[in-house]
Amino acid sequence: MSTNAWNAGALRDRAWRALIWGVIAFFLVNVGMLIVAVATNSVATRWLGTWLPEAYTTGWYLSAWKEFQLGHVLVVTVVVVFSVVFFSLLLGVPAAYTLARKDFRGKKLLMLLFLLPLMVPPITYGIPLATVMYQLHLAGTLPGVIIANMIPALPFVILVMTPFVEQIDTNIESAARVFGANTRQMFIYTLVPLLAPGVLAAGLLVLVRTVAMFELTFLVAGPDSQTLVVALYYAVFAAGVRAGQSVDAMAMIYMAITMLWLLIALRFVNPTQLVSRVKEHPVNA
C-alpha cells in the first residue's frame, strides 16, 4: 500500500518534471526557430512563402553597415553600454547595500526617488533632461549619453541588488570588519565576491536595457554619439521603403552585440551563487 502511495508520489514528481522540461523545450525550440527565421531572412535575396529562400547574400549586412556607419556606431554603443553598466554597478551596489541593511530617516523618500525613474516614461523628463544636458555642454558627448542612460539604469541596479544583499549573512561582514577591513575593503573582498551572481544579473539586465534605451540616448546624443538602437529604430520606424531583410540584418547585428556581452559575462561568472555551489553536495564523486 505504501509502496503504491510512494509510486504515486514519484509519478507525480516525474509528471511535473516532464511538464517543466516540456515547457523549457517548447520555449527554446520556438525562440530558436524564431531567431533562425530572422537570421535566414537577413541573408536571403528573396524569400516568398517557401521553406527556404531562393538564394543567399550578405548584401543586407554590407549595405546596413555602410548606410549607418555601423563601425563607429558599434564602438560608441560598446563604450556607452560598458560605461553605464560599470558606473551604475559602482554606484548602485553600495547604495543597495545601504538601503538593504540600514535604517535611516528619509529612506522611504529615497526609495521613491529610485523607483520613479523606472516607472515614469522618459517622455516626461527626457526633453527637460536633454535641455539641462545641453546647458551643461554634456549633450552630444559620450559622458552625456552615459549619464542620461544611468538615470534608469542606476535605480534598476539598486532594486535588483537589494534582495541579494539581504540574503548575505551579516556575520560575514562583521568578520571582515573585525579583521580590519574598512568599508571599501569589505566591499571588494567580501561583499562583491559573494554578490557576484547578483552583480552579474544586474549588470546583464542593465546592459540589455541600455542597449535598448532609445529615447534618452536619442535626445542627448550628438551625431558622433548615437548608439545602435537609434539606427535600428530608424530602420524600423522611419518613413519610406526598407526591405525586411535589411531590418533583419540590423536586428541580427543588434542581437549579436548584446549576446556577445552576455556570453562573455556568463563565461566568467556563473549565475548560481557560490554558497550553493560549495555546499551543494556533489552528486557523485
Partner: protein, 365 residues
C-alpha cells in the same frame, strides 16, 4: 594605502595598551537586557574567561567589545581613549566567532590570511604566517579547500587560526573549541595559552566548559541573565561560588535543604532531613534557620568516616574514569555521587563530605 598605514599605526599604538576598561556596558534587544551594566577591567596580558549559562549574554559582551554591536549605554576605554564609538576595523582586535563566520568564497588559507592582507602585510610574509597558523591548528592538509568543504571542527579551527594569525593586542574567543574532540581540544588549549603568553596579548575567552575556564584563565567572570555574578580567580569561582546559583552552575549538583544549627564565623553546622548533622562552610552571612547546602558529586567521599551517613545506590552510570551514582539517603532528593570503584544499584554505601566542601547558602526565595 593611507588606510593601511593608518591601520598599521593604530595597531602599533594599540599594541601598547595597558588596560581595556568596560564601564557599565549594557545592551538591550527590544527592551530585554542581554547585557546589563558590565564593568570590567582587563589588564594587558590577562586571560579572562567568561562563563555562564546559555543565553546569558556572553556573546553579546564579546560583540560589544569588538564593536559589532552598538552599546545601549556605557562606554569602553582603551587606556585613556574611549573606543566604543570606533568601528570594529579601527580597534584591531582578533575574534573567533561562535558561528565561525568564515568567508565562504575564500579558501582556508585566504580566510586565515585575510586580516594580514587588510593590514597590508607583504604577500610573502602572509604566506609564511598563514602556514604557521595552519600548522598550529593542524589544517595544513586542507589549506586549499573552501570552508563549505570542511567538517565542523575543521571550520572552527580555521576561525581560530584566522584570529591568532594577526597577533592582535586583544583576542576575543567565543567558544572556540566547542566542536573539537577531547584530544585536540587539550592540544589547542595549550596552543592558545602558549600564543597568549608569547604575544603578550590579552584574551577574553567565552566557554561553557568549566575545565577549560579553570585551566586557562587568570580570572573568571561568571554571568547570568546578562548580569555579572562573580569575578575571581578560577579557584575562587570554582571552590567558593559567591551565590547558590553560581554554585549550581559550577557543578554543585547536590543542593540540600538544611537548617543552620550553629554558626561560628565561616564554619557552620547544619542539620538536614530531620536528624543528620553536617559541618559546613557558610558562603554568606547566615541567620540560624532554613538554608541550603551545596556539594559537588565528586566531593562526596564513599566510605566510613566522621559525619558519614548511609545511602542506597539507585542508578549507576559509567563515566569513564568512574561511576556516576544516584544515591537515596535521608534527604528527599537523590544525591549525585562519583565512585572510582565499581558499584551496582542496590548497594549500600556510607557517604561523607569534608566540611570545607559543604557550602551553605541562604535559602532562595
Amino acid at each position: 594605502m593611507a588606510g593601511q598605514q593608518n591601520a598599521a599605526a593604530n595597531g602599533a599604538r594599540k599594541n601598547e595598551f595597558r588596560q581595556l576598561r568596560l564601564d557599565g556596558v549594557s545592551r538591550q534587544f527590544g527592551g530585554a537586557n542581554a547585557l546589563d551594566r558590565l564593568s570590567l577591567t582587563i589588564e594587558r596580558g590577562e586571560f579572562i574567561a567568561l562563563l555562564g549559562p546559555s543565553g546569558c549574554g556572553k556573546s553579546t559582551a564579546l560583540n560589544c567589545m569588538a564593536g559589532l554591536l552598538p552599546l545601549t549605554s556605557g562606554s569602553i576605554w582603551l587606556d585613556q581613549q574611549r573606543i566604543d564609538p570606533l568601528p570594529p576595523e579601527k580597534r584591531g582586535f582578533g575574534m573567533v566567532f561562535q558561528n565561525y563566520a568564515l568567508f565562504p568564497h575564500l579558501s582556508v588559507s585566504r580566510n586565515v590570511g585575510f586580516g594580514l592582507k587588510m593590514r597590508g602585510v607583504p604577500a610573502a610574509e602572509i604566506d609564511r604566517r598563514v602556514a604557521a597558523a595552519l600548522d598550529t591548528v593542524q589544517l595544513q592538509a586542507h589549506a586549499g579547500k573552501l570552508p563549505g568543504q570542511l567538517s565542523g571542527g575543521q571550520q572552527q579551527r580555521v576561525a581560530i587560526a584566522r584570529a591568532i594569525v594577526i597577533e592582535p593586542p586583544l583576542i576575543l574567543m567565543d567558544e572556540p573549541l566547542s566542536n573539537l574532540d577531547a584530544k585536540l581540544r587539550i592540544e589547542m588549549r595549550s596552543e592558545i595559552r602558549r600564543i597568549h603568553r608569547a604575544q603578550g596579548c590579552s584574551t577574553v575567552y567565552v566557554t561553557h566548559d568549566q575545565d577549560e575556564a579553570l585551566a586557562m584563565a587568570d580570572r573568571v567572570v561568571v554571568m547570568k541573565l546578562g548580569v555579572v555574578q562573580q569575578i575571581g580567580t578560577p579557584q575562587d569561582v570554582f571552590a567558593r561560588p559567591a551565590k547558590l546559583d553560581i554554585a549550581r552552575f559550577m557543578g554543585y549538583r547536590n543542593v540540600l535543604p538544611v537548617n543552620v544549627m550553629q554558626s561560628d564565623g565561616a564554619g557552620v553546622t547544619v542539620e538536614g532531613a530531620g536528624s543528620l548533622r553536617l559541618p559546613g562552610t557558610a558562603m554568606q552571612a547566615l541567620p540560624l534557620g532554613s538554608a541550603v547546602a551545596a556539594i559537588r558529586p565528586d566531593e562526596i567521599v564513599i566510605g566510613e568516616g566522621p559525619n558519614a551517613f548511609a545511602g542506597t545506590v539507585e542508578t549507576a552510570e559509567y563515566g569513564g574514569r568512574e561511576w556516576l551514582l544516584q544515591v537515596r539517603t535521608v534527604f528527599d532528593e537523590l544525591l549525585y555521587v562519583r565512585s572510582a570503584a565499581v558499584v551496582t544499584p542496590g548497594d549500600r554505601v556510607m557517604l561523607s563530605a569534608p566540611p570545607e566542601r559543604v557550602l551553605v547558602y541562604a535559602k532562595e526565595d
